[in-house]
Every structure is written in structure tokens, then in C-alpha cells.
């Protein structure tokens, strides 16, 4: 059998060590060797954005990133977004606005959005579209996702923002 690679890295704020076949992608290592199945796959060719995780704060496609390259890096997956039982504001607004329908692409969108809001706490709609353009969603038509990012951004800035009535009940 093949010899295993062995790495140490930071995973969702904790130190982690894992051994795996050296050709494995970070996606495979997370899902198969660390049982963190929150990171999904849609193509395993870098086309859909579903497997996005943060490495040193940057959104990357874990299907195109070798597991061995995570050595000594800080990796964050969707499982690491909530603080204890407290959801990240993005997770809250995704849940409230129905931005997660089937939920399969949601981990990728959440992490890309988290990176965006770190860099740009007040993105306009076009900046949100631009940041999310590498992620495909087949359920929502993206609109509830934009609204959830906008609402979370406002809350993270400490601003009061009601859920927009039109996005819940439609236009009168």
C-alpha cells in the first residue's frame, strides 16, 4: 500500500494532525480522514465552488488544493463558523431568509461571504455578486443569498436592520 503523508495544521481554531494518502485533496482529507463532511463537492474539478474552505483566511477550492499543502496553515470549514452554540451572523441570516434551500452549496457560499465581509464590511449588491460569482447554486437564484449577506453585514456592523418585508412576503 501507499505510504501516508502526515501533517499538522490548525483546523477550526484547534490543532490537528492527520495521516492520509499523499495524493489526496484537502477536500478528501477533510471529509474522509477527519469526518468533517460539512464541506461538500459538486464537481471535484474546480468548477462549482461547493467545496470552498478558508485557508489562512482566503477562500480556496479544497478540491484543487492538496492536503499536504495545508501543513502549518489555518483551515476553516463551515463547522468552524459558529462560536460554540452561537451561529455566525451569516448562518443566522441564511437560515432566516431561506438562503439555504437544499443546503448543499451553503457551506461554500457562507465561507466566501465570510471572507468578503472581513475584507469589505459594507459591500454593495454588485460587490456581493462579484464575490459569489464562483459559486453555483441551483435552488435559490442567488437572491436570498444576496439578501442574507446584506443583512448579516449590517448586523456585523452593529446596525439595526429589519428583514426586508418584500423579500419575505413579496411586493404588495
Amino acid at each position: 500500500m501507499k505510504e501516508k503523508a502526515h501533517i499538522k495544521f490548525r483546523l477550526n481554531g484547534e490543532s490537528a494532525e492527520v495521516a492520509f494518502a499523499p495524493h489526496k485533496t484537502l477536500l478528501e482529507v477533510l471529509r474522509e480522514d477527519l469526518n468533517l463532511t460539512g464541506t461538500k463537492h459538486g464537481c471535484e474539478l474546480g468548477e462549482c465552488g461547493t467545496c470552498t474552505v478558508l485557508v489562512d483566511g482566503r477562500a480556496i477550492l479544497s478540491c484543487l488544493f492538496l492536503g499536504v499543502d495545508a501543513e502549518d496553515r489555518e483551515v476553516k470549514t463551515v463547522e468552524g463558523m459558529a462560536e460554540g452554540n452561537q451561529l455566525h451572523p451569516l448562518q443566522d441570516t441564511f437560515a432566516d431568509l431561506g438562503a439555504a434551500q437544499c443546503g448543499y452549496c451553503s457551506p461554500g457560499f457562507l465561507l466566501v461571504a465570510e471572507e468578503l465581509l472581513k475584507k469589505n464590511p459594507k459591500p454593495n449588491r454588485d460587490e456581493i455578486k462579484d464575490a459569489l460569482s464562483g459559486n453555483l447554486c441551483r435552488c435559490t437564484g442567488y437572491i436570498k443569498i444576496y439578501e442574507a449577506v446584506e443583512l448579516a453585514a449590517a448586523r456585523m456592523r452593529g446596525e439595526e436592520m429589519e428583514l426586508p418585508r418584500e423579500s419575505i412576503f413579496g411586493r404588495d
Partner: protein, 816 residues
């Protein structure tokens, strides 16, 4: 259908609650099929045919079996019994036995200790084929009788021919002031769910089989497994895992599901398969490519005197849902505008391409596109405003159409009014006189309407049992568990169950445990297709909850010494309405009921009302209710590149009653998105010398809208409760897709004056049509004719207006 506590204000229904699984989905905790890993689990890979049409002469698995780590290899001869979703199309084998019918047809399967070994072993299997002539298009299928792709059907490579006539259509044409004929083509496209299909099977030491699978139809998978594996159904448990998107693409029983079961039976170990994205394209069962011809007679005011609709479906290599799809291309034309005489002829062909089946809107987006563009052209010829013309001739509520579809509530008029007013239609639509445009050159506006079923009137296999069942269990500590065979594919069906039960029992939806889609634990629901789930499971849930409520109310009334009708359930309490502070908690109410009656469990079930249509073929189209949608699209077309940008869509949807408006709007926006993808870019295109090799089996090359292409959507919800819907609710998962493609096509015409009568509207087609127009010819891109085929004499049915009884007429028809 309503709760009999009907005076009570709604506390849950119609409110924007979170989904019961929202938290799990936003934290990565939802377990999809590929997230399951069991101890000693093996991995499966399936060898698929690279030949589009061939006899299998020999399969040699010896080299593959010799590879270390390979535990089993199976071929078709081990599973000789055929299966298929429809009883009339049992034409698939878990692995092909004698021949292959498309590139991607499964031939052999490997179980190995890991995916890499399975992959290597798969590549060591040697298959010798004897090539057959391929059939790659509708035109070839209707002219080339031999070789036949299948040995059944309506002759040659025709799978199914349908010919129906309601009333005398020639008489209708004779009454018309204008008769118009048009030809359209709607290219096939695919569901592209983000989650690739996956399944895990375990045949355990008790000789019982469990399958976890990303399927929309666990009940049908259960039936197929019992049949093919020759196991008693009682020894098989199918658990549908939450689907990472379905859209119809996970509605057939699939070969990979049967294969992993067989491999687990052989090895005694759990076996998993996860399809690659390329394989998902081969599974397909997506939108049929449909060529259509429509001939309509109208009076000067646009009222229809008769319509003849023909459709030609490219079915691909297997039957799948195709017979139903064929009928659906002709069924729902009649439920939007009054069509007093109607003739439908449809034919589905077999071709050597991945099989087509149901995709969101199942068989109806293609004819709806054709009909709505055709009506736009009629409006132009009659110099009528296309919005006005549609508004004038709507089907009336509580009527029966010429083809015997019973219309209940009908909110399309209000939908039209909303989008016309909201879009500023009157200030934007230039009439048909282009010189005096209201919008700048290159900008255009278009309108279309549609309707969709809320579940099919008849089940897929004939039986008189309910289509949906719900079981409720009340715990003496106040817990409520609702169990139902329905499967959440992202639309929120688990939540709908919780909301409805919570409403009737006066508790919070998050107090409820929802257990779904497990054939061992949950009563049968037929599955997440044909927009049936909210209406059918909702009604079953109402019945189960009403029955539970009755136990609670009787016990509490006795305890409080007040009449039964005085007891109300709300805010987690049961109390006397005349003296609201007198009451007990919900948990105490359960204790009282359990003390009096024993363990509290109830069931509810739902069967659709019988349909008035009794003729052969009347099974497709009837529904307990019809949803309605109207859409206006505003586009910007660049005449130098042909690129169409859809800027905004206004859409109004007649939902009857929202059970949860956030989820309804999510379905509307998602439907608009998918319709936008279909009209602008999505296509299952084939290449190669035989036109049977899939051109784009990847997410990069199969173009679907990203955030960059998605348009703005303005949604209006019309709430006109339907008596057959739970709390009046109708469907929303599929219907709002339907008006989008034709609204965009009509807007393109308004923008640059060319008709693109073929979906998708790509820049090349727009440019070609513009060039034709510059040369003084008709600015049009699309098919000019349909194949001439021998149609059977139509089954003649007298319409309700003619005094018909819903049965076919006994004599042979005059017209053909």
C-alpha cells in the same frame, strides 16, 4: 381543506418561520448520502459504455478481479429482471445484459476497499462490443425502423404515439377569423443538482437490506429493489437522505442504487457509490428536446376557436417517465385560456442518448414556451396588446376544460394585473408599431402566463390506496413526532409538516420532531415530484393532527367540565375559549388524553378527488388544483453581438395560501432562475460523428447562470385559497418556471424585432436572425417543419360543452 378550529387566527401558517432543518443546513450538519460512512465500507465504481448502440459480445473481468483490494465484480446477468419507473416502461437493467443504448449505459460494477482501487479495477474490465447503427435525432427515429433500440413501443424507434381530439377542431378553425401555424424547438437541458447522486447499501447479518440514497422517490426505489433483487419488500428499508437538489433528476430508480445493494449482498459489507459529475450527466432524465407545431384559430378579439398541437419528443435511450412526459406536452394548454376545441398529437422517440424524463415542470415548459410565443404572434397579427388579449380569454374558475381538467381556484387574472401594473407595461410596451418605441432601441419587454398541477390525480402504478400518509405520535411529556414518507429536496417539505401540525395542535413548529422518507418508519408518500407534496402531505397531516386534536380536546373538556367545542389549542395550551385562563399545558393535555384513551397515535391520509376525464389518456393532467403564474421580462439585446441580458423579471404567482411565504418566494426566485438558464444558455448538446457524445458533461461547459447572469426578480404572491389545498395552499416549486422562457423570448422580439423560435436563445441565433432580417427576410431563427408521420386516428372525446361524459366516442373519427 381546513382545520375545524377554523375561527382561530393562524399562528403558524402564513408566517415566515425558519425551516426546521435550517440550522443543520447552515452549519454543515445535514447528512447527505455521500456524508455517510460505515465501518468496513467498500466503494463501488460502475463501468459505463463508451459505445452509443451496440451488442455486448463478451465481458472479461478476470484481470480486474485479480487486482488486490477488489472484493466483487458484477455484470448484468446477475440481475436479469428489468425495471423502470412506469409500469409500461420496464425497460432498464441494473447493468446492461445484451446491449447498450447510450454512452454512459452501465455495463459492470466493482466493489473494492477504496475508490482508487475500484477505479483501477473498473479500467481493467474488458468489454467487446458489436456496433449497431445509431439513432441520434427525432428525424432519424421516425424514419429508421431498424435497428430498433427497444423491442417494444409503437413500432420502429417510436416509443409512444398519442392522438386525442376534444370536440371538432376543424369546425373550430372554420369559425376563426385568423388561423396561425408556428413551429418551435425546445432543446433538452438537465437538472444539474449541486449534489451528485450517491447511495450506500448494507445487507446486514439479519439478511435485511438498507439503502440510503439521494432519491426523490424512496417508495418507487423500494419497489424496484424488491423486484430486481428478488427480496421481499419487507426485508428492504430505503432511507432517502436529504437531497442536495433534485429538480426531477433523482426521481427514477437508478441502476447505481440497485448495484450497490447487490454488491453488499455479495460481500456482506456496506457499499457506497458516489457518481462523478460526468456520470450525473449520463443519468440525466432531464428535459426532453421537443419539436412542436401549433395551429390555432382565433376570432378578431383573440378568443380561441380551436387548437391543434403536435409534439415530437427525443426520449433518449430508455422509457423513464417518457409516456407521462409525452401526455404532459399536450395536457395543460387548456387550463389558462379558454380553448373550446382541442386536438393533441404527441410522439416520443427512442434515440441513443442519455434518457430524458422529468425536469421541473415535467413536459410542460416546452409547450408553454411554444404556446405563449405563438399567442404573442397572434396578438401582433390582430394588433392587440398581448397582455390584454390574454386577460380577456382566461379560463373561468370552477369549470371543466375541453380535455376534462377540473379547474378550482384560478388567480391568473390577478397575477396578470400585478405584473402589468408592476412592470409599467403600458409605458414600456410599444404596441406592434416599432417606429414609435417607448423603450430605447435594443431594450424590450415581453409577457407570458402559465399554470401547473398541484400533484397528479393518479399514482404512477395503478392502485386505490392513498398517495400520501402521515402518522403522528404524541408523547406524554408533550413531544410530538410526525412521520411521513415525503423527502425534503430543499423545498422545505419537512418544515411544511411541522408547520401544519403545529398550527392545529397549537404548539411551536420547533417543538415537533419530523421523521421522513424512511420506508421502515414512515407511512408511504409517493415522493417529491409533480408538485404534490405540500398539497398531499399537508392534507394528510391535517387529518392526522385533527384526529390527535380530538383526543386532546375530549380529555381536556372532561377535565375542565366544559363542552368539547369550547376547547381551543394555542400557545402550547389547551383552554376554554370563554375563559381562556382556565386550561392546561399542552403536555398536560397529552397526559389527560393518554390517561383516558391509552397511547396517543393517529394517522391521516390523502387521495386526490376523482377526475371527470374517463377516456384513455385521461390519467395525465388531472390535479386537485392548478397554480397560476404570469411574468413580464425586460431585456437588453446587443444587436452587434446578439447577447441577451435579462435585466428584470416581474412574476406573480397564485399560491392559494402561503404555508410559509419565505419558502414560497424562494421557490419563485429559484424557478425564475432555472427558467432563465433554460431560455438563455442551458442545453444538453451532443457532438461527434454520430451526434451521440455528450458535448458538455461538466459544470464549466454546461452553462448555467451564475450571480453574473441572474436577473432581478420582483415577486407578487396572489393568495386565492383553493378548497382542495391544505389551508388553501397550492404548489410553487415548478409553476413559476414556466412563464419565464416565453416572456424572455417575447421581450427579445420587442427589443430587436427577431423571433427566436428555438430554446435556448443564444447570441448566434439572435445574430443569424438579425442578419436574415437585414437581408429583408423574416427575422426568425427556428425550425420550419415537423416530420410527417402516420398518426393513429385520434381518440374523439366530446367536450363538456358538447354534453360529453368524459369518455371517448365509440366510433372512428373522421379527421386524422
Amino acid at each position: 381543506m381546513k382545520s375545524d378550529d377554523s375561527e382561530k387566527p393562524l399562528k403558524v401558517v402564513g408566517k415566515p418561520f425558519r425551516k426546521v432543518d435550517a440550522r443543520a443546513k447552515c452549519t454543515g450538519q445535514t447528512k447527505f448520502a455521500d456524508d455517510i460512512a460505515l465501518p468496513r465500507m467498500l466503494y463501488c465504481r460502475i463501468l459505463r459504455s463508451h459505445e452509443p448502440h451496440a451488442f455486448i459480445k463478451r465481458i472479461d473481468t478476470s484481470k480486474a478481479l485479480a487486482l488486490p483490494g477488489v472484493l466483487a465484480i458484477i455484470t448484468g446477468k446477475e440481475m436479469p429482471i428489468p425495471y423502470g419507473i412506469l409500469p409500461v416502461s420496464q425497460d432498464e437493467h441494473a447493468l446492461c445484459i445484451r446491449k447498450v443504448r447510450f454512452i454512459g449505459d452501465p455495463v459492470a460494477a466493482v466493489a473494492a476497499i477504496d475508490e482508487d482501487v475500484a477505479f483501477d479495477a473498473m479500467n481493467l474490465i474488458e468489454v467487446q462490443y458489436e456496433r449497431l447503427q445509431t439513432i441520434s435525432s427525432i428525424e432519424e427515429a421516425v424514419t429508421i425502423d431498424e435497428p430498433r433500440i427497444h423491442e417494444y413501443g409503437d413500432g420502429g424507434n417510436i416509443h409512444k404515439k398519442v392522438s386525442l381530439e376534444f370536440g371538432d377542431v376543424e369546425e373550430g378553425f372554420a369559425l376563426a377569423d385568423l388561423i396561425r401555424e408556428d413551429t418551435f424547438f425546445y432543446e433538452g437541458n438537465t437538472h444539474l443538482p449541486m449534489e451528485q447522486h450517491a447511495a450506500v447499501a448494507y445487507f446486514d447479518t439479519d439478511d435485511k437490506l438498507t439503502l440510503w440514497s439521494s432519491t426523490q422517490t424512496p417508495h418507487y426505489v423500494h419497489r424496484a429493489l424488491a423486484k430486481v433483487l428478488e427480496l421481499p419488500a419487507s426485508h428492504i428499508r430505503v432511507i432517502a437522505t436529504p437531497n442536495g437538489g433534485g429538480f426531477g433528476g433523482k426521481s427514477d430508480p437508478f441502476n447505481h442504487e440497485i448495484v450497490v445493494c447487490k454488491l453488499s449482498m455479495i460481500t456482506g459489507r456496506p457499499v457506497k457509490v458516489t457518481l462523478t459529475r460526468e456520470e450525473v450527466f449520463y443519468c440525466h432524465r432531464g428535459r426532453h428536446p421537443v419539436l412542436m407545431h401549433v395551429k390555432t384559430g382565433v376570432k378578431k378579439d383573440g378568443s380561441i376557436t380551436g387548437m391543434h398541437f403536435q409534439s415530437f419528443l427525443d426520449g433518449g435511450g430508455y422509457g423513464s417517465y417518457g409516456v407521462a412526459s409525452t401526455f404532459y406536452t399536450g395536457a395543460l394548454q387548456t387550463v389558462t385560456y379558454d380553448i373550446p376545441r382541442y386536438k393533441f398529437q404527441g410522439v416520443r422517440c427512442f434515440t441513443n442518448k442519455p434518457p430524458c424524463g422529468p425536469k421541473r415542470g415535467h413536459g410542460t415548459p416546452q409547450p408553454r414556451y411554444a404556446l405563449e410565443v405563438h399567442l404573442d404572434k397572434i396578438a401582433e397579427q390582430l394588433k392587440l396588446d398581448p397582455a390584454e388579449m390574454r386577460r380577456q380569454h382566461l379560463v373561468k374558475p370552477n369549470t371543466v376544460t375541453a380535455n376534462y381538467l377540473r379547474i378550482g381556484s384560478m388567480g391568473l387574472g390577478e397575477c396578470l394585473d400585478k405584473v402589468v401594473a408592476g412592470s409599467g407595461w403600458k409605458n414600456k410596451f410599444s404596441g406592434w408599431a416599432q417606429p414609435n418605441r417607448k423603450l430605447p432601441s435594443g431594450k424590450g419587454i415581453g409577457i407570458a402566463c402559465s399554470s401547473y398541477i398541484c400533484g397528479a390525480g393518479l399514482p404512477i402504478y395503478w392502485n386505490s390506496m392513498p398517495q400520501s400518509g402521515v402518522q403522528l405520535r404524541l408523547d406524554r411529556q408533550g413531544g410530538v413526532c410526525v412521520m411521513c414518507g415525503s423527502i425534503d429536496i430543499g423545498q422545505g417539505s419537512d418544515s411544511i409538516l411541522a408547520y401544519i401540525v403545529a398550527e392545529i395542535l397549537g404548539i411551536d413548529p420547533f417543538d415537533i420532531r419530523v421523521v421522513t422518507a424512511d420506508t421502515d418508519l414512515t407511512p408511504v408518500d409517493l415522493g417529491s415530484y409533480s408538485s404534490r407534496v405540500t398539497l398531499m402531505t399537508g392534507n394528510a397531516a391535517i387529518q392526522a393532527a385533527e384526529r390527535a386534536r380530538e383526543f386532546l380536546v375530549m380529555a381536556v373538556a372532561e377535565k375542565l367540565g366544559v363542552p368539547i367545542e369550547n376547547i381551543s389549542l394555542a400557545d402550547r395550551r389547551a383552554f376554554d375559549v370563554e375563559n381562556p385562563e382556565v386550561g392546561v399545558s399542552f403536555a398536560e393535555a397529552v397526559v389527560l388524553a393518554e390517561s383516558k384513551f391509552g397511547t396517543i397515535g393517529t394517522v391521516g391520509s390523502y387521495s386526490p378527488p376523482p377526475s371527470p376525464g374517463k377516456y384513455k389518456g385521461a390519467g395525465v393532467g388531472p390535479s386537485p388544483a392548478y397554480s397560476y403564474s404570469a411574468a413580464v421580462a425586460e431585456v437588453d439585446v446587443d444587436p452587434s453581438t446578439g447577447i441577451v441580458v435579462v435585466e428584470r423579471i416581474w412574476i406573480a404567482h397564485d399560491i392559494g395560501q402561503s404555508i410559509n411565504p419565505v419558502l414560497v418566494i424562494g421557490q419563485v426566485e429559484g424557478s425564475v432562475y432555472m427558467g432563465l438558464g433554460e431560455i438563455l444558455m442551458e442545453e444538453m448538446a451532443y457532438r461527434g460523428n454520430r451526434n451521440v457524445v455528450h458535448k458538455f458533461p461538466s459544470m464549466l461547459e454546461y452553462k448555467s447562470p451564475t450571480t453574473m447572469e441572474m436577473c432581478d426578480v420582483i415577486t407578487y404572491l396572489i393568495e386565492d385559497p383553493d378548497p382542495n389545498g391544505p389551508f388553501g395552499a397550492k404548489e410553487v416549486g415548478q409553476g413559476p418556471l414556466l412563464p419565464v422562457p416565453p416572456a424572455v423570448a417575447n421581450a427579445v422580439y420587442d427589443a430587436v424585432g427577431v423571433r427566436i423560435d428555438e430554446v435556448p436563445i443564444t447570441p448566434e441565433k439572435v445574430l443569424k436572425a438579425l442578419r436574415e432580417k437585414q437581408r429583408g427576410r423574416a427575422g426568425r431563427y427556428g425550425p420550419n417543419s415537423v416530420p410527417q408521420i402516420d398518426w393513429p386516428a385520434p381518440l374523439r372525446v366530446q367536450t363538456p360543452a358538447e354534453g360529453g361524459d368524459g369518455r371517448e366516442m365509440p366510433h372512428v373519427a373522421v379527421h386524422s
